[in-house]
């Protein structure tokens, strides 16, 4: 949470609408049903196909922006490139929006848990990135 009690927003961008929505649900569930954390999924294209929609990302970011910044996690390929292009050139995203370098599922869980515990944008970013360090074997 920022100093003023505002919560960090989380946006999950996947090539698939189902994957983005399911990871959002999983992260909320594992965060103890953190209903208060603003999490939005931006999956697939407007037409319902596999791909990335810049407009859906911008709309999702705007919908979770509470003034404490927005952490965006992506899966791969065009999801990463579209986010980077939006950050580099455009004015479509709310101020304080960041692309967080993290594994998609594990990073989303860490980000939502941290945001629900009141972490600020730096803390959310660090927690999500740290998910890379949890080795499985």
């Amino acid at each position: 949470m920022g100093d003023d009690g505002k919560q960090v927003g989380i946006v999950l961008v996947s090539h698939s609408a189902d994957v983005a929505a399911a990871v959002a649900e999983l992260a909320r569930g594992l965060a103890g049903g953190a209903a208060a954390v603003p999490v939005a999924a931006a999956g697939g294209t407007e037409g319902g196909g596999l791909g990335t929609s810049a407009e859906m990302i911008a709309a999702a970011a705007a919908s979770v922006d509470r003034g404490a910044g927005v952490a965006v996690l992506t899966d791969l390929g065009s999801a990463v490139l579209t986010m980077k292009a939006l950050l580099a050139e455009g004015d479509e995203l709310p101020p304080g929006t960041r692309l967080v370098d993290a594994p998609f599922v594990e990073g989303a869980v860490a980000a939502v848990v941290t945001a629900s515990a009141g972490g600020d944008l730096d803390a959310v970013q660090a927690a999500a990135a740290e998910a890379y360090d949890y080795r499985k074997v």
Binding site: S53, A54, L81, E89
Partner: protein
């Protein structure tokens, strides 16, 4: 000198070329990608042509900035942010000038190509659109025809390369022997420059 009309024509000609070649681009992409390059770019450039007709931006920089923005929002695949960044960055480099010369365009396109490299992390030789764009920008000082020839040669030269970036890189050795769809569409974009200039002269 090249004015906003020239740049609008460039985008319109590019949209027509992509329309015409969409099947070939998708066929190339079905060999080493996910078979959507033609249809994705077709959707993007159709949107560009429609927007330019509606909004009629009045400087070269504004035409390219608007076109790039449109590609990023409508393509839906990696080529959207890549081509979108190319055009946006090129447009930004052209500034507010009402007219630019070929030298200024070459310089601005180089900035655009550098933007693409920074975004995608690819270099020439990785079997990407850069293999057509970089030689084209190098040759642009000798005119649009030279740029077109360089881009087409660059695209053809991707066939024996092994992909090191993008989805085709998952295929490793199996990406060898196929012409890169991104380099092929980049050659279309550069060829459209020559055609747009030819329309003006003729």
């Amino acid at each position: 000198m090249l004015d906003a009309d020239f740049f609008r024509r460039w985008m319109t000609v590019a949209a027509a070329s992509v329309d015409r070649e969409a099947g070939r681009l998708t066929a190339l992409d079905s060999a080493i990608g996910d078979a959507d390059h033609g249809s994705n770019l077709q959707r993007g450039f159709r949107a560009v042509a429609a927007t330019l007709e509606q909004e009629a931006p009045d400087t070269p920089g504004a035409v390219l900035a608007l076109s790039g923005k449109q590609l990023i929002s409508t393509v839906g695949g990696a080529s959207g942010p890549l081509y979108g960044t190319l055009l946006r960055r090129t447009g930004k480099a052209l500034g507010d000038a009402a007219e630019v010369d070929t030298g200024q365009l070459a310089e601005a396109l180089r900035a655009g190509v550098e933007g693409v490299m920074a975004l995608g992390g690819a270099a020439p030789g990785d079997k990407t659109m850069l293999d057509a764009l970089v030689p084209a920008v190098d040759a642009l000082g000798d005119g649009f025809a030279a740029a077109r020839a360089a881009a087409e040669a660059g695209a053809e030269a991707t066939t024996p390369l092994r992909a090191r970036k993008g989805r085709a890189s998952y295929l490793g050795e199996r990406s060898i022997g196929h012409q890169d769809p991104g380099a092929t569409s980049s050659a279309l974009l550069i060829a459209a420059l020559e055609e747009a200039a030819g329309t003006a002269e003729g």
